[in-house]
Symmetry: D3
Subunit: 298 residues, 6 copies
């Protein structure tokens, strides 16, 4: 099964790539243009500088190809591979100016996506042994949703709903406007497309009871204390055995092991995407001695 | 002086906003559409849940207005204001469906940008008393360059060059291809636009000497140990008093105080933009009792 | 509840609107520009020429506003209203050139969307009395998905999944590649986001049995003869009372009454969107006698 | 001569293709991603399920290529070929996930365009033997103008003016604002580019007389009864032998034979584009036994 | 009649405006941001520095509004007005930073478009008294077609065909491929839309004869010597009185008077658009003493 | 060193190319489509018709490739080569319809860019022997900034700052708002990124003194009389030997020799980009006898 299915082909990622190229190199690379011979060919190694899970090789290749269609990126590992410091991740060959102009954009993508994949992998590892899914949320960096959700999959996690159209999640704000969980669920069932399960966010045991009674197909325990989670799971299993139990809010690495053991089906974690730090990757360029290329005409 | 000058007006930010809206709400908000009455008016408070520096009110307003032009965002603080947990940051009023559909996109922007501003402010504070600039780098999240650089200014930092066209920085990769720092500087001086200062990255004292000799107008001490920084600054001041000294690489909060005292002019820090965690902001919606609005026709 | 939630605000619809304006009026309206006085103000009535369900007033308004921001569209009925021949649907006022230039684009949108709404309403009416949903499919006109799905709602129908990311539907082609319905369902359950129900398309009673056994949460009876539908429904109700039954393929108006009575939950009909004929709406322009407007500067 | 000249290359069609891909597969294909092995290669046959004129092979190929550049579409017939039920139209080979993700978008284009071509061919056939052009109008589906006009050519029809800039057509609304046909024609002659013929829409014999007197180079008989058409043609031939006669409005297949014999030069028919039903094409996928492909890096 | 009909509303001009803003101010205005107080309000006069015909006020207003929606442009003259050195053309008021950031883009548009209008007016004046149209060609600056054609109208000229779809012009290259003028005209008549007149470019008297015989509705005398033009016009008038005569190629101001008297219907001039020099307009900014504005939130 | 570094790859140039294709050929080429056989292959020569410096071969190739990916452009000279009338610049081979449809767009780009390169070369030649840079300004044609700046480099000139973010230039309007040159320079130094030199525009000797005193790193002598330039240069060299001297305003070819000898470092000339006339290039098409190509499917 393809857990990965990279989103490089989508118009949205192409547009983000345009933005990224424009904002850094849209008006040229003054340093390289003034310093490097246009005919100079070069080779560059992309190297991991810390322990990390690789993610984003496809978009890095797209970046370099945009600058000059003669560049070639040879991967040495694959997206999803865990690597150690010093590992050669990929080698790019082409006009030196294109390599230098593309370096930062390519690395910015890879460092962020590998950061997400690496953090995800850490949480997944902490849940090892438990039959639980680690998922992302909709708390993603604006414009990078598809890429970050891909990185979560690459890191061994699962995706929560893609957007507001591909999942029903009744939250406190909805209930505040509608009046009750029961009425909200009733309306969702009456109006929403049948392809979607109805999930309800609850903040207490009594809200949990209400949600189960209303027929929720999944419940999201929001910010439950670890000690209450087990009790909640037990209650769901007894009353509505097909209902899924998700927990979210304040999920840290420290709590992961205990939460995973609690029997919940899904642990969703916003920080996977909104607070992953960039991991360290660098690029080293060397001249190809015999390398002299003509100007690219296209 | 406007240190801020928000980039909301630029076509690039408008395009990013399009991407952000599309990826979350481009196919509608199934939950709200099926649960909330279309005529329901509501009010929502955006509230800080931790100590943070606010950033992104303008783009949050743009988000809500895109969903429905009748929404109104009233700011209670301004970009750059430090706030404490519980502070009411802004209130939005409009059709309930628009508020709910826009909530996540608006918060994703604000939590990330406020995160960058807050982290910047922490580094700036750590350098207090020293005559040194804290700046960002080009290590930004792809597509968010202008916004993140704005957030750095909002947090009290300065911007390094905007992109590859607005600054000359000769790095090890350039030197590896050209043969020497001297030759690289010569070429930059001969070919690059005169509007730009020539900065050279150095990794040792001997490279520093070479850069000064070549006439660098700024030097970037890359990954220098704290103890070597003072010596480097002294050498620059003696030999080339108008040359700026920047330090970068491995700059942590722990080292900030000492580095700031070392006499360097600029401390540039990649993590300000590539590794700032999202800060906690939430939105609480309540019905406006008498509020019933007709369908928006545009 | 908002069954409608018009998608005018989405970037995708804005882009389609751009395409529509460009392809008809992107290089100007030679006839009006050469014949009509620029200062002439006018008023135009949009009139139904047959029995139809109105749909698309919001986008018609957007069309005229794009040509000249001084135009004003006053609706006389609302999206979803059934009207008779001769009914005044809306009146537009503004510069005569803008009304004439926008006429065809506005009517092309309204005639198509009202056509979809009208056809949907006919199918919904044919199912009256039965507790069944009439839904669309993904067989929509390329580029018009959101608008056509809106028109289906306006006509009293429901939407099936919005796109390939917001619903799981295992079809014969998937089974052909995976080997069995059982294995396909197993993989979907293991890998796909938990927000989505798992639906399986079946073409015979034995495939239906297999799907139920595998745990399908919904089954799509594909091209079942009317006489077999009742039997299939009965079998599902007995074995898996929570499983939804959908029927699709060759659903004509003639069969609707009988199908609706058969007890299925959902009848999905491709022709609602891919084969609805345009309904007849026309626009009549008259001069506003005292009307003379200056040139619009923006 | 190229009657066809496919518009695939135009930026407008590329943008429509983007919209079509985004709206269906922009956030991935959850079913295929979770069910189908990423390395699985497959082959798919596109098959006609009814008698039809093929149209849209080029854009179908573009669709599959966008999902994965390794797909290959082999055409078995060409645009414009009439085929019978069961005819193999094309075979696509490539990664199974790409074939499944592209299926619906490709078929939606082909079913609509082949529908337009087929309907056009029916009208053209009904006019056989007469020296008359069957043309489309500007009543096209918003955003699909160029494609639908291509389909009309593919079906044996001709195109009327492409848009408001490539033909002058003075209609009742223009006359209502200007005061008389004579004045409208005078202004058009004085102001409009000389590359365009001046055509006038008339609704009665007396308006026809006025148009001829004013020097119309073509007249459009709007909604004329069949019995009046012959008389109108005769009058034009006598008084203005170089003036073209077009008829439009309420042109059904039943009337075509008689109208074609009436001696008019052009019969324009809105329903060719705005009301053609989708024809039936399907796609059948089968695994390529030995087929295992690596992940596409771009 | 509106000879002008400004194209500001078209998506194409909006996209060009985006490009123009991005390329100059997309990454901010470093000088103004660092030097000017954000709250400073200012007023700016746009002043003609030479004799010129004004063109482009609408797009100048759009430029400033994009930077800050609070700017207001008050026109003092209108597009098409001839002005003398020192004339105040418009006054803009708003935040000083927005005025300074928009100055160059607005002036670049106005100086170019006014340059085209002014040059056109000179040619039109040189043809005064003759019943001849001065038109542009398709030799326009890439991306500025609609704007430059508007400027030609503003300068008193007419437009030739808008693009390759809105006029038929058979040139030497077509004839070289088809074999003869006769065959080319025959094909055009058989295949092209009836809305378009058929024009043929000829380079000699014998080609002119052939074109007339083939039934050309307009002939383009390409690079004819002035002395041959009269003879050609005479021949056309005798043999095909309804055929239009256009002359193009090497049309300079010196030749205009004589060419205009020669009796041709149309003189088309590529240099109007491809070689008009920019005219001199400048902008002078002054502070509004009491002016202090808050930060714009959108 | 690459003085050239063509900007073809940038998203902005791709978007301009889209605009250029759409505005001329977006709705097809009616003449070629109706006259030329779709299977006809052809070859076309692009020929210089006057003495000029070639510029734009890369974008011409991109134009033809967009119409049909089977076209091949073979360059006979390179960007930057000076050629004489009659020189064969490039040969294009491909489907005749694609060559004819692309001809005008390709030539419009090349004639304009070669015009800029040629004019630049003339100014550079006039400065021969002097150690001075001839540069462009920001007075470029909207949307063509990157291309025109490339053409200036191709013609032997240098670029001034790329945009408002890549250079600091304090002008009279800034000083009018801030109060003094001294204060403006102080603010720029305090707030702007350190990568940029601070340049000040001066209009008199006293302003020059003030600028030097304030620490300007470059001064722009605006509209100085030729006789005053030498005096100004002398004063700068004495007081601030590292400060660059630029002259701008009213720089004509007549004055170039004298200005170049005056010792200034930079002469910037707006007319290079805003007023270069198009140079004469033409395209001649001939059939390839055996050439018959099938329809392109993509």
């Amino acid at each position: 099964m393809s857990v990965f299915q990279a989103p490089w082909y989508t118009p949205a990622v192409q547009r983000l790539l345009d933005l990224a190229l424009e904002e850094d190199a849209g008006r040229g690379d003054v340093t390289s243009a003034s310093v490097i011979d246009e005919g100079q060919e070069a080779e560059a190694d992309i190297i991991a500088r810390e322990r990390l899970v690789v993610c984003g090789l496809g978009i890095a290749e797209a970046v370099f190809t945009r600058f000059d269609w003669r560049t070639r990126l040879r991967t040495r590992v694959a997206d999803g591979d865990p690597v150690t410091p010093g590992t050669l991740v990929a080698t790019v060959r082409g006009p030196a100016q294109a390599l230098l102009a593309g370096e930062r954009v390519a690395l910015n993508f890879m460092q962020h996506l590998s950061g997400v994949a690496t953090l995800t992998q850490t949480f997944v590892a902490a849940a090892e042994g438990a039959k639980v899914r680690v998922t992302d949320t909709r708390k993603t960096t604006p414009g990078l949703r598809a890429l970050e959700k891909y990185a979560v999959r690459v890191g061994g996690g699962h995706n929560h709903r893609a957007d507001l159209s591909s999942g029903i999640l009744i939250k406190d704000n909805h209930v505040a406007l509608v009046g009750s969980v029961r009425e909200a669920v009733r309306r969702a069932r009456a109006n929403a497309t049948h392809s979607l399960r109805i999930e309800v966010e609850v903040e207490s045991m009594s809200e949990l009871d209400e949600a189960l009674e209303a027929g929720a197909e999944a419940v999201l325990l929001d910010n439950f204390a670890t000690r209450d989670v087990g009790e909640a799971v037990k209650r769901v299993r007894e009353r509505a055995p097909r209902t899924l139990v998700e927990i979210s809010g304040g999920v840290t690495l420290d709590r992961m092991h205990e939460l995973a053991k609690s029997g919940v089906d899904i642990i969703s974690i916003g920080s996977l995407t909104h607070s992953a730090r960039a991991v360290d990757l660098s690029m080293e360029v060397r001249p190809v001695v015999a390398g002299r290329m003509g100007a690219a005409e296209r």
